[in-house]
């Protein structure tokens, strides 16, 4: 991904109506965004849908980005919102339609992800959503603690605590797997 300073300039040009900047943002940020969704839901089709939904939402609320502020926290805050909204809608549909037909489980959709994404998703699957988000942003997307705190609407202390708890859980799980194997 390009350095954040370039993203800030691109965001300002996007707000000014520059189509080249809009396309550049889509191409530089979609990979990490897509990975963010893949880690959570595995199915490429749903990740594609969420990616499109996220960009549409970003387009609608692009005026809420303040020039000079970091771009990634703004972007991932919206992406998390889109994902939550998506789950909520799916749950609502499932609740309404369960009586007449059986819907396929989203989380159990066939693993179309790369092996590494699937391994990562499996590793993180037992964690609570908030911890999974923190670990994904910190370690997979290489965001700073400050950026993750902003993206998740939390304090820096809370992010550190979630990351620590997630590591403890992951270590326990891995050591449990070793003992079993």
């Amino acid at each position: 991904m390009q350095p954040d300073i370039d993203l800030k300039a691109l965001m300002v040009r996007y707000q000014d109506g520059d189509p080249v900047a809009a396309a550049a943002l889509v191409h530089s940020l979609s990979g990490p965004l897509h990975r963010f969704f893949m880690v959570q839901i595995v199915s490429r089709r749903y990740a594609d849908d969420l990616l499109q939904e996220t960009w549409l939402r970003i387009h609608e609320v692009r005026h809420t980005y303040r020039p000079g502020e970091p771009v990634l926290p703004w972007l991932y805050a919206i992406a998390r919102h889109v994902r939550v909204d998506h789950y909520r809608k799916v749950r609502r549909v499932e609740t309404r339609e369960r009586q007449v037909e059986q819907l396929p489980e989203i989380a159990a959709a066939p693993a179309e992800a790369s092996d590494r994404d699937a391994d990562l998703a499996a590793l993180l699957s037992g964690l609570p959503e908030s911890q999974r988000d923190v670990i994904t942003m910190l370690k997979v997307l290489n965001m700073s603690i400050e950026e993750v705190a902003r993206a998740t609407s939390s304090s820096i202390g809370s992010v550190k605590q979630k990351a620590h708890r997630a590591y403890v859980t992951l270590r326990e799980r891995l050591s449990g797997t070793r003992v079993t194997s």
């Binding site: 005026h63 919102h81 370690k139 997979v140 997307l141 939390s154």
Partner: protein, 230 residues
């Protein structure tokens, strides 16, 4: 032999390339670029927070003046300074928090629940320290009148505040509803401190402070209703 540590697995995953379908990217780019127009970014956070602060103070002052400044007339200088100092600080913190809740990726030092709980407790503590009349004359009746008046002013402040925040985007609508409800309630509390001449300790601590959580809860319910119908 030891297996991999979590960091190793995560680092390997972070280093792996991740491709997105180029056709999908082209589709997204095309949809964004078609009819792309310039937009005006949100004003700086301090401008929005100042506007919210001014609205809250204006609603409190207008309400207190219209109903009669009988409450503040009974307060001494220490009571006026303490109560309105704490109210002013709480209002500013709530205003800043409301702006953060409606701007994605903003820095947060406190959660909406913490702002509500800490602010309410501090205000109730100040009331308890300042007033020492422990009678309870017509406790429920007078209390309900104050609660209703406070909430009505909170509603007015909430509607005016919405005009300031309407261009924002709440990534967590419930937290934003809680924050806006808390801020709006402070217009009601401010009005009560200007107007209400009843300085009985329990009346002020219970009923004046109760405006804050009730209004915050109403904000959450409203946010939930709006989200369900969107």
């Amino acid at each position: 032999m030891n297996g991999p540590e979590p960091e190793e697995i995560l680092n390997r995953a972070a280093g792996a390339p991740h491709e997105v379908d180029p056709a999908l990217l082209a589709r997204i780019s095309d949809s964004l670029v078609s009819g792309l127009r310039p937009v005006r970014p949100l004003p700086p956070a301090w401008v929005l927070a100042s506007a919210l602060f001014a609205i809250t103070a204006a609603v409190a002052l207008a309400g207190g003046t219209a109903l009669g400044l009988k409450g503040i007339a009974r307060l001494n200088a220490l009571e006026i300074t303490s109560i309105f100092g704490v109210l002013g600080a709480f209002t500013w913190i709530s205003a800043v928090h409301c702006v953060a809740e409606t701007t994605p990726g903003s820095r947060r030092r406190l959660s909406s629940g913490t702002v509500l709980a800490a602010g309410s407790l501090v205000l109730a503590g100040v009331f308890a320290l300042l007033f020492h009349d422990y009678r309870t004359t017509r406790f429920v009746h007078q209390g309900l009148v104050c609660l209703t008046l406070g909430l009505a002013h909170g509603l007015a402040a909430g509607l005016a505040g919405w005009l300031v925040l309407r261009r924002g985007f709440a990534v967590n609508p419930m937290a934003a509803g809680l924050a806006v409800g808390t801020l709006a309630s402070l217009a009601g509390v401010g009005m009560l401190e200007l107007h209400c001449p009843n300085l009985e300790t329990l009346h002020v601590v219970v009923w004046h402070t109760a405006v804050i959580p009730v209004s915050a809860f109403a904000g959450v319910l409203l946010a939930r209703f709006i989200r369900r119908n969107n």
